[in-house]
Amino acid sequence: MTTGADARVLGIESSCDETAAAVVRGGRAVLSSVVRSQVAEHAPWRGVVPEIAGRGHLEAIVPVVEEALSAARTSPRDLAAVAVTTQPGLVGSLLVGATTAKALAWAWSKPLVAVHHIEAHVYAALMSLPEWHFPYVTLVVSGGHTSLYRTESPLRHALLCSTRDDAAGEALDKAAALLGLPYPGGPSIEKAGTGGDPGAHPFKLPLLAPDSLDFSFSGLKTALLYHLKGPGLSRPEAPLPAGQALADLCASYEAAVVETLARKCLRACLQLDIPRLLVGGGVARNQRLRAAVARRAQRDNVQATFAAPEFCTDNAAMIAGLGHARWAAGKLADLAVDVAAR
């Protein structure tokens, strides 16, 4: 029988474009983490190929789970529990992971743990820390989410604020589309902006009221559009920038997004008087965001901790990690547990 510290949990994730499985020991040691992404297949279509979302997961899930177990040299009987993302995400995609996890938990007679994907992104950042000192201010920033939380424990997160319109990742994705750069937009803009001057085109930062923690990125997208095509699209035929001009524009736009994120999360630390910050989610992989947050955190005497880059984007190690914490707390799921889009 396993004890908490060496209990192994199998995590399964299929909420969006990644099919992933991982084995984590004691909620900390990642014995394996397998991620199969459909993004490369989707990129030419700027989205997901018809039916590939659900069907792609269905084809990938069993080999991915087998690979995760074998890479971790773990047999099903070594597991303490099976954890799976049940929300939020695309329902058809979530169902593939959830159904697989239920079947495995039942067949192996192991407890099932249901994990909230956003809480798992927070856990991914906690996994970077050798010791935990709650509470933390937490920023989760991705394509679909931009939210600040007050994190009281791995299982307790009070929402402080969210975006009023678009998530930061969406602001980057849609800017990339306007600039003719490929999906996903965050990495495209980061790459195209390399060597660019972030001060070349000062975009107005959407900081809202001086004490507001809310985010709003939709105006930034329109500002970029009008910069490219004239106010009110008065120059619809204007050519897209290239070379240094493109690099400058990407660097400037990205700077506006990351500066806004950095200022808001440090503002939250100061307002709540919590000198510890966690940052997770796909956009947290962005090097300029990490640098901007680290710079402001140092100035304000805040300890900023980021999820490891490979655990920023969707993965199952964070699902297994949080799954361990939930299992240890006795928060198990029924085999009838449902998935939810939000």
């Binding site: 979302a53 058809g92 969406e170 997208k221």
Partner: protein, 162 residues
């Protein structure tokens, strides 16, 4: 068949676009579809947020681009769709979302041109466009039901385009 009704409006601030959404939202009932067209930044999500408020929904409305469909509970349930990732939307509609749209709900669609095959014949179409000073909104009814909604729309005189 009666000719379709077209109303051309002009707004100079996001709040006005939202207010027009609110006025339309107050007129809607379960079974109505409002479908939005227009490029990035034209104000679709702003208008949609107004429609939700007009329906009496209190929860703030955010962009459904990634999850494709956000559901809001209120006096009448609102399903807010976004077909920006059109192929992903197509697969999710085929996986069962299309059936849910037939229920007692108001359906609001952004990037409706990317899911044309799934739209009902009788719907309110709103085309948003960038203009030098603000936005142009063209509201159009495509059948008797949507026409009745638009004919009763109040307080839009101030926004009529010249």
């Amino acid at each position: 068949m009666a000719p379709s009704l077209v109303v051309k409006l002009h707004t100079t601030a996001a709040e006005q676009t939202r207010e027009l959404g609110r006025r339309l939202g107050r007129r809607l009932a379960a079974g109505d579809w409002v479908v939005l067209y227009g490029p990035l930044g034209a104000g679709k999500t702003t208008f949609a947020a107004g429609v939700a408020e007009g329906l009496g929904i209190r929860e703030p409305v955010t962009s459904p681009t990634y999850l494709l469909c956000h559901e809001y509970a209120g006096p009448v349930t609102l399903l807010h769709l976004d077909a920006y990732f059109e192929l992903r939307m197509d697969s999710v509609l085929a996986e069962g979302l299309a059936e849910r749209l037939q229920g007692p709900v108001v359906v609001l669609v952004e990037w409706a041109e990317k899911m044309r095959a799934w739209l009902p014949p009788d719907r309110i179409e709103v085309s948003l466009a960038h203009r030098a000073e603000g936005r142009e909104l063209v509201l159009q009814a495509t059948g008797p039901r949507s026409r009745a909604r638009l004919e009763g729309l109040e307080g839009v005189e101030a926004f009529l385009a010249p």
